[in-house]
Symmetry: C2
Subunit: 516 residues, 2 copies
Amino acid sequence: MKQKAINGWVKTISVPTPSLQNNTADAERVLAALKPALATGNVSIDLDLLRILPGLIRTAGNEFNCVLSCRNDHWTVIDMAPVSDPAPVGAAIDLGTSRVVLQLVNLVSGDVLAESSFDNPQYTIGPDILARIHYAAEPGGLAALQALIVDSLNGELAGLCQSCGFEPDAVLLTAVAGNTAMTHLFMGLDPQWIIREPYIPVVNRPDLLKAADLGLKLNPRTRVFIFPNIGSYFGGDLIAGILYAGLHNQEETSIMVDVGTNAEVVLGNRNWLIACAGAAGPALEGGVTKMGMLAGPGVIDQVQRVPGSTKLRVSTIDDLPPVGICGSGVIDLAAALFMSGRLDIRGKLVPEKCAGRIRYEAELAHFVLVNGEDSGTGRDLTISQADLDSLIRSKAAMYTILETISQSVGTALSDLASFYVAGTFGSFINPRAAISIGMLPDLPLTAYQSLGNSSLGGTIHYLKHAACLAEIDSIRDSITYLELNVNQDFMNRFSAAKFLPHTNAGLFPSVVREES
Amino acid sequence: MKQKAINGWVKTISVPTPSLQNNTADAERVLAALKPALATGNVSIDLDLLRILPGLIRTAGNEFNCVLSCRNDHWTVIDMAPVSDPAPVGAAIDLGTSRVVLQLVNLVSGDVLAESSFDNPQYTIGPDILARIHYAAEPGGLAALQALIVDSLNGELAGLCQSCGFEPDAVLLTAVAGNTAMTHLFMGLDPQWIIREPYIPVVNRPDLLKAADLGLKLNPRTRVFIFPNIGSYFGGDLIAGILYAGLHNQEETSIMVDVGTNAEVVLGNRNWLIACAGAAGPALEGGVTKMGMLAGPGVIDQVQRVPGSTKLRVSTIDDLPPVGICGSGVIDLAAALFMSGRLDIRGKLVPEKCAGRIRYEAELAHFVLVNGEDSGTGRDLTISQADLDSLIRSKAAMYTILETISQSVGTALSDLASFYVAGTFGSFINPRAAISIGMLPDLPLTAYQSLGNSSLGGTIHYLKHAACLAEIDSIRDSITYLELNVNQDFMNRFSAAKFLPHTNAGLFPSVVREES
């Protein structure tokens, strides 16, 4: 996350004029000029660039910006242009299962030039990755899924370039991060073994690819870097996130949590990294990210207690009359109800404390958050005991995962220096509320840092810092993947975490209820 | 030249079945299995191969032949097939200015499967390379020249494959050697700066290329290795020749001479290599390789003296009545005439010794080799004093080059362990005759070794020995290129070499004329 001076993929060189004394080939004179900038002689020049090189270096002066790519310690010059030409461009792509986000970056200055996002068009095949993987196994299915994402990327990239006033062939480097299944579909690789025991991707560490080989309509010389995965459940989006957070560079132990389609956790420091994901995720997914509705106009994203009152104040997106509630709002609400004694330590509504705001439907208690006359729908906005039970399971699963991974390396959650929360979850969640219900550990609020889209952040980082290539390999190679076994220990911890904030209240000293 | 056991580009591996304990990706399990065979982990798998990999390793057993390519210390798996499948194939191509020669090789056994050759179709644009380079500078010219050679290679390769009973996509590796201009035209690289001072190729060391990027219709995964050049006048065909001769591996100093379109000489041993080419070539080209006619049916390729007689016995190709004489025949004839006193030490015909076989046309003496009644044309076959003068200039140029290069490193020609003669010149020339006229140094005949098509030999060597990649780079990097300056010293040596066998007869102790 820390801003560094850009030391990226563009190197400026001066190409010496040939003479009878220095009559090495054009290519070799360019490579010799690059050698000091790269500290290696392991460089070659793209064939298509060789085809225009003699004319270029004889007509366009001596000073050039070279755009390079690198893989396996070998560099390739993919573009050369006079330093006076417009800067070359990179495209950063976060390939999400639901949403795809793109940014264009000036490869010389590192400035972000434009951003856009769109719904993953594979959604029409199946909203979740499982449905898509099954579809990929049908005849023509994989090709259709690949075409969907590639075509929409082509359209989006063309539009973004046009908005910046250049052609798509100005884009010379592309960095892509996504979960393992998404990157497989993007590369046209058969994903079916990802979801069958023993859960095997086709590839962990994709080679550097040519955009044209993937069907991307950029420069024929454009290279595409795809962040490596660790396995079926731990994708390149997470590696990109770790790179972006800088977890792997810090002396103190920190944790990163990403709740997207899946819940993934990475714990570590500059000496070691341990990660887990997935197995305990469904409760969390079904709870936090799917409960209520997605964030949108009129959706309640924050709930606060009015000091000295039992009243609750809701905030909605765009300040419109409330029409529903999203995940962060549910966590806020549960925290507010618990802290004021209207939810007991088992997460059950306490009718006698709710002062007429309880309503029963088919014997199921509902808490009325907003009355019909104040809502944007004309109907009461409520949260049911079933919704709350689901939240309790989710928060217990989350805390259990955090506890399990930290106990596996002998670290106490209370010792963590930083707690990075990635993604939409991280952007909207109120750590104070999440601590109150025991979803997140009781750390000082200053330890919590929201990363935003850390997967996109990692791809941007790649485009700006050539040296991070080695870091990415090192992150991938150093991560220990912890298989979460849902065994008796895990279930015991899960049961203990199903209380508010926890069976062991001593773990949450800052959570003190007004009324208990 | 020495046969080694094949240790080539095909490695046999056993791919472990995935399990929950070893759940790395398919690609990574293949790469791990390859690591011991390659002694490096720097390997990746071609994207197109990744696309079929999961099915392959789950349906075709565990034992596979992997075809690899390598460049810059990074290996790429380009094909995998069950060991029971037919062996993968390599194509070796000698890209000559006049003639192109191809062989198909079994990449597992190293056996040559088929060979063919065809006239370089760029001949229709210009018989010599200069005309083609000028044509390449015209609009569309370069593309047309490239298409000519690529199209004819495609046709020839398809035919050769058909004759062997497989499809062109069985060809997975291709090795190409040619002079610098020819390889530039093959790659579609602008050759115009090759012939303009300071004589600069576009590239010395081409990258490993995909056949498809060159327009070759082989397997989409086929890689093409193009032998590197040292400069405009010293091409990859010569590097291939050195590799084939093994000059760079020998303790004793040897020399290799290749007279093709150009005359090129390499001198050296395992510690150093020095080369020169071109500048003194035209006389030799015009003389030895173009005098008379090209070898063909009825052409005199050998002339021998009948012992104890002044009669000459001619041998013709296919034993047909003689219709002309080719280079090796001219050298034999000149040697026979000189050894029998019919040519003086200046190379002039001695009429009084020629016993009625001299005829004058426009005051120019002609020696009648075959009478009209014995020839295949019905006319006398003669050689004129002008032809002989041209031969003398050629042989003097050749000897001067050999002397100049060996003197430059303080080696006496008489100290050479081996004298390799490459190409058609080497296949047909009679070293004894060439020594007699002072064209080649007076070494024991056992020192002379004919290499045949050493450029093709080098490409075959590449296909059979993966380790030679480092040797090729090392040959290229270690050669000192000697610019032949036609200065006073050179001219003095040239003048001295214009006598038969030489002004300093002490250099040729074995040449003792019957009559002097």
